[in-house]
């Protein structure tokens, strides 16, 4: 029992600490990209305590539930959303010594659990009983369901090359350097089609985690706040937490599948479980940083353009890529 | 390019003396006072005639003349093709302030006429959406009349500061 609780607590701690850092980091990154400083006041050095102050503020806020809302679903949606992203962390191999649950269908489980996110978004949008929320919820559901297809197709490509659904096994086979000796033995360097797969995967996870240029569900200039419009205080904070957790989850998945997970980029140098954790988080956070960088650079797509990109470009491309990868594996 | 006097002469040939009067203040632009009944046909002529071609209605304002107990509507027209400008004016008695709408001729008149109705109370016949524009629909009175006294309460809220 205690062991299970500890197992469950480790990813939660990682998520919470990461969320505090990432929210502050996003604001700092936004600041630096926009020629300004970002938060500077709270806590002394570069406003490092800003997220903590924000959290305290959010806890104190009044919990407003609209009169005509569907009370139970309205209250439940944010927690379900967070639970879904949190549950998916169980199969992420954080280091060679730690993985929440060593199940054989790891990737499959992760994709299945994250598909619940879509439902919680619809739930929040519908339960608020607000037209903007409903429009946001429907948009977001359509978007997430659509972009799940290219995500799964690209993940399948990797699984095809790796030959295992277990993320730990996938990571372990990426250890060491490749035959040439200078590149790490990461999957992205093993097969040219996997580079294409990664690009598709990255675009899809941008859409799945509602980041610019695909942040239509909560695009503040059109739909006010999308499905979050009616939420305030801690429930809104849960949405934010879930969103940041989702970002990290998908980035870590990308790092595991394409960039060698907890493997050191320098072969055995700086290896071991502790360094493994460091490398893994570094890779994941780098992807998160790229997502933030994109957010503060690009405008956003319109909803029909978004669907066009998914169904007419990404999905055919990812399936063609899957077949080509399989051929490459057969030939070499 | 025609001067206002030339435009007046041109219009007089078309519509006769009765409907039109040429007026001028001590300073500023002269204007043509048009009979309220014929403002629509005059406007249509001004827009379509090859010698006039007034394709834009720059401004439409409502006025209140307390001494004469009349309301006025002023049309500032401009032709971008012939680069000429003219001011038309319509005056109607305050008890019966009906002016034909020119919305069908210049679409921009839509909102301007609503504003004139809202502010001085000229009613425009044939306007497709004849409602107040700036003030709430159930407001009393027309604020730009010189004798306007604001209502004390609006829906139970005092209008005093």
């Amino acid at each position: 029992m205690a062991a299970i609780l500890i197992h469950a607590a480790i990813p939660l701690t990682i998520i919470l600490v990461y969320a505090l850092v990432a929210i502050w980091g996003e604001r700092k990154i936004a600041g630096f990209i926009q020629d300004r400083l970002g938060p500077m006041r709270v806590g002394g050095w570069h406003g490092w305590a800003q997220s903590i102050a924000d959290l305290l503020k959010l806890i104190q806020k009044e919990d407003i539930i609209p009169t005509n809302a569907s009370r139970f679903l309205f209250k439940f949606a944010p927690f379900m959303m967070f639970a879904a992203s949190y549950a998916a962390f169980a199969v992420i191999p954080f280091s060679s010594a730690y993985i929440g649950s060593m199940i054989n269908i790891g990737v499959f489980y992760l994709l299945a659990v994250t598909s619940i996110l879509t439902l919680s978004v619809i739930m929040a949008g519908w339960a608020s009983n607000n037209k903007w929320s409903l429009l946001g919820g429907m948009r977001s559901a359509a978007q997430m369901v659509s972009y799940e297809v290219p995500t799964i197709a690209t993940v399948l490509t990797v699984v095809l090359v790796a030959g295992s659904l277990n993320l730990m096994t996938v990571t372990e086979m990426q250890a060491g350097n490749d035959t040439l000796g200078f590149l790490p033995n990461w999957l992205i360097f093993q097969n040219p089609f996997l580079i294409v797969a990664f690009i598709i995967f990255f675009i899809s996870i941008l859409a799945e985690s509602h980041r610019v240029p695909f942040d239509l569900p909560e695009s503040e200039s059109e739909l006010v706040g999308g499905y979050q419009t009616e939420y305030s205080g801690m429930r809104w904070a849960m949405f934010m937490l879930a969103e940041y957790a989702d970002m990290l989850l998908l980035s870590l998945l990308g790092a595991t599948l394409f960039f060698g997970g907890w493997n050191s980029p320098f072969g055995d140098f700086m290896g071991g479980p502790a360094w493994g954790f460091f490398w893994f988080m570094l890779k994941g956070l780098l992807l998160v940083f790229v997502m933030m960088w994109i957010r503060w650079t690009l405008p956003r797509y319109r909803v029909d353009q978004l669907m066009h990109i998914c169904w007419n470009i990404l999905i055919p491309l990812s399936f063609i890529n899957l077949v080509l990868t399989a051929l490459w594996e057969v030939i070499f | 390019m025609k001067t206002p006097e030339e435009i007046f002469e041109y219009l007089k040939n078309e519509f006769g003396e009765d409907a039109l009067t040429f007026e001028k203040g001590d300073i500023g632009d002269p204007w043509i006072l048009v009979d309220a009944a014929s403002i629509k046909s005059v406007s249509k002529f001004l827009r379509d005639d090859p010698g006039m071609r007034f394709n834009t209605l720059m401004c439409l304002s409502g006025l209140h003349y307390p001494k004469e107990e009349e309301l006025g509507v002023v049309y500032n027209l401009h032709s971008t093709e012939l680069n000429q400008t003219i001011t038309l004016k319509v005056r109607v008695p305050i008890d019966e302030p009906a002016v034909p709408s020119v919305e069908a001729i210049w679409k921009t008149a839509d909102w301007h006429e609503r504003e004139a109705y809202d502010m001085v109370g000229v009613t425009f016949e044939g306007h497709p959406n004849h409602k107040r524009i700036l003030l709430p629909d159930d407001w009393e009175g027309h604020p730009l009349r010189k004798d306007y006294v604001p209502q004390e309460f609006y829906r139970g809220v005092t209008t005093r500061a």
Partner: protein, 171 residues
């Protein structure tokens, strides 16, 4: 009691409770969300039966796919955009007859079956075994189902494009 047993009863309770909510709720969207809890509860029960692949498939296909379709269907019907989705009871007598019949059949089956409780060995390679079965013994049905689904997709695309083309012709 063991943790597994506690979990089993917990999930069974969730499954049954939400199933009842689904049936008895007056609000059709509430029913749909209750169905979600039922499906998730069933998925959890699959996990307890060492059928992890089946559980994940249940989540991915039923919760992540079919249920969302149901919700879309419900919300896009002409019931309006607000909370006023209502269900009404129709065909009361035939429906109750059928359900009583099915219940009787199930109870009969339950009572007459000779239940033997055997210790199941913990399986870890479910995916491998499944893959072997699908690509080996059951390759023909597997391919046949795949072709069937492909035909269905193509048919759906054809129908929707023809419909939209007709609409454009009208407008």
């Amino acid at each position: 009691m063991e943790l597994t047993t506690i979990l089993f009863y917990l999930f069974a309770l969730v499954t049954l409770g939400s199933a009842a909510t689904m049936v008895f709720s007056k609000n059709i969207v509430h029913s749909a969300f209750a169905l979600m809890f039922t499906l998730m509860g069933v998925a959890a029960l699959y996990v307890l039966l060492y059928a992890d692949f089946l559980a994940a498939t249940q989540l991915l296909v039923y919760v992540g796919g079919i249920l969302i379709l149901i919700l879309f269907g419900v919300m896009l019907t002409s019931q309006g955009y607000t909370l006023s989705f209502k269900t009404i009871t129709v065909n009361l007598i035939p429906a109750s007859l059928i359900s009583v019949g099915i219940a009787a059949l199930l109870i009969f089956a339950f009572l007459t079956t000779d239940w033997t409780i055997s210790e199941v060995a913990e399986r870890t390679d479910t995916v491998y075994d499944l893959g072997m079965l699908l690509m080996g013994d059951y390759i023909l049905p597997f391919i046949a189902v795949g072709v069937l689904l492909l035909i269905a997709i193509i048919g759906a695309i054809l129908m929707s494009t023809r419909l939209s083309a007709e609409n454009e012709g009208v407008s």
